[in-house]
C-alpha cells in the first residue's frame, strides 16, 4: 500500500493517522500526540524527525527565519517535556540559533539606524538602502 502522504506531487496530502479517517483509534482510547502545531493535519510523529533535521541543517545557510519556522511548527513538542528527545534537540538547536542570529542582526541594525552618520561617517550614506536603491536604479523595473 503506497503511502499517500509521501507523494511529493500532491500538494494536499492525507495523513493516514488522521483521526477523521481512523476513528477507531480514538474510540479505543488511544490518543495520538501530534507533534506539529497543525495537529491532525500536520506531520505524523514518524515523519517529524527527518523534517526537523532538514530544517535545522538548512537554517545554517544564513536562514534564521527557517529556524523560527521550525520552532513554530513543532511548538507542541517544545512545550511538552516528555516528547521525543532527539526531536527536541534539533528544536532547541534551532531556537538557540534563531535567537543568537537575531540578536546579532538586530544589534547591528539598531546601531546602524540610531548611530547614523555621527557614528559611521560617510559610510552610512553608502550603506543605507534607499541610497543603494537610487544608485543602482533598483526600483525602475516596475
Amino acid at each position: 500500500m503506497e503511502n499517500d502522504s509521501r507523494n511529493p506531487n500532491s500538494s494536499i496530502t492525507i495523513d493516514e493517522t488522521n483521526p477523521l479517517t481512523s476513528p477507531s483509534r480514538r474510540r479505543s482510547g488511544h490518543r495520538v500526540e501530534w507533534p506539529t502545531i497543525d495537529g491532525p493535519l500536520g506531520l505524523s510523529p514518524e515523519d517529524s524527525l527527518p523534517y526537523a533535521r532538514r530544517f535545522f541543517k538548512l537554517g545554517f545557510l544564513c536562514l534564521p527565519f527557517l529556524w523560527a519556522i521550525n520552532c513554530f511548527y513543532f511548538w507542541p513538542v517544545l512545550r511538552r517535556p516528555q516528547s521525543d528527545p532527539l526531536l527536541r534537540r534539533y528544536l532547541f538547536g534551532s531556537a538557540i540559533g534563531f535567537l543568537l542570529f537575531t540578536a546579532i542582526l538586530l544589534s547591528w541594525a539598531f546601531t546602524f539606524a540610531i548611530g547614523g552618520d555621527h557614528l559611521f561617517g560617510h559610510v552610512w550614506e553608502e550603506l543605507v538602502m534607499y541610497n543603494v536603491a537610487d544608485r543602482y536604479g533598483l526600483t525602475g523595473w516596475m
Binding site: 507523494n7 506531487n9 494536499i12 493516514e16 481512523s22 477507531s24 547591528w108 539606524a113 538602502m129
Partner: protein
Amino acid sequence: MDQNPRPKTIIETLGEEIIRIITPVSICMLLVVILVSVLNTDSSSNATTISSMATMAYAENTSDSIWDKIKGALLNSLVFVAVVTAVTFLLVLLFYLRCTKFLKYYMGFSAFLVLGFMGGEISLLLIQYFSFPIDCITFGIFLFNFTVVGVLAVFMSKMAIFVTQSYLVVIGMLVAYWFTLLPEWTTWMLLIAMSLYDLAAVLLPGGPLRLLVELAMSRDEDIPALVYEARPIVTDDSGLVQRRVWREGNLSENQGHSSNEGNIVDAEQGRILREDSELAAPLIQHRISVRMNSNEDSSENIALEGIGLGSSGAIKLGLGDFIFYSVLVGRAAMYDFMTVYACYLAIIAGLGVTLILLAFYRKALPALPFSIMLGVLFYLLTRLLLEVFVVQCSVNLLMF
C-alpha cells in the same frame, strides 16, 4: 472513551468554513488597498504607465479620447486573454505528458520571482517613501530569508498551514499590486475579459481548465499549482458531521479496522458510500490559468483559478481569484475609499453566491464572473451616482 461534545450545528461548521475563505480574501484586498493608497499618492495614477505584456497592443495616454481608450483597452485585454489561453493549453499539454516535476519546479521558480523581485521592489518603494534607515546588509538578509522560506512553503507539501496560507496571500498581494499599475481603462477591460475567459474556460466542454480538471480527475492526481486551501474543519465526531464526501487515503497497516471505518458519510445528502483501500470518487476539482506577472520575460505564475472542493473537504480558491479581486479593489482605491467599500461588498456577495453554487453543483466553478461583474457594476454606480448623492448630502449637512 471519548465523550462527544454536542455536535456542531451547521452554522458553526458551514459558517466557519466560509469565514476561513473570506478572511484571507479580505486580508489580501486590505493589503493591496493600503499599498495602493500609500504608494500611489505621490505620482498620479495616469502618469505611471508601465510597458509590459498587458499594454503591448496599446499604451494608454491621458490625452486620448474616450473612444480611443476603449478601443485600445479592448485590444490590450484581448491580447492578454489570448496569451493566457495559449499558456493554459500549454499547461494542459504538459500535464497530459506527465511533466509534473517540471511544473512543480516552475511553480517554485515563479514564486521565487514574485517574492524576491516584486517583493523586493515594493519594499524598496516603501523604504524610500518612509525614508526608513535600514542598511543594505540587513535588508538583503531579510529579503533572502523571506524569499527562500516562501519558496519552501509553496514547494513543500508539508509546511505549517498558517505559513503557507500567509505566503500565498502575500504572493497574491504582490501580483495584484503590479496589475494596479496598468492604465485605468486597460485594467477594467482586463478584469471583464478575464472573468469572461474564466467562465468559458471552466464551463465550456473544450475549455482548457475543464480539460485540466478532467485529466486530473481521471488520473486522480493533484495539479501542481498555487491554490489557497482553507484549513478543513476538524471535528471530534467519527464522521457524522462531515459535510462532504471524504477521500479515504490508503489505510496503513497498523490500523487494521478497514471494514466499518470504510464508511464515509455525505451528511448533506445522507448517502453512505462504502469504500475499500482504493480511493473513492476524487473530489479535487481544479482549474488552472496562468498569469503573466513580470515584464521581463514570460515568467508565469501557475495560478489556480476558481473554486473547488479539496480532498479533505476544504474549500479551495485559486490564487488568480485572489489577484483579480484585489486588483478590482485596488483600482477602486485609486479613485476614492467609497468605491472601495462598495466594491468590497460586491465581491464578497459574489463570492458568497459562488460558494452557494459550489454547494449545489459540487464541481469546479469559476469564481471570477459573479464577483467581478458585481464589482464593476457597483464601482460604476458608486462613482457616477452614489458619490454625488453622498457629497451633496454631506456638504449640506443633511446626512453622513
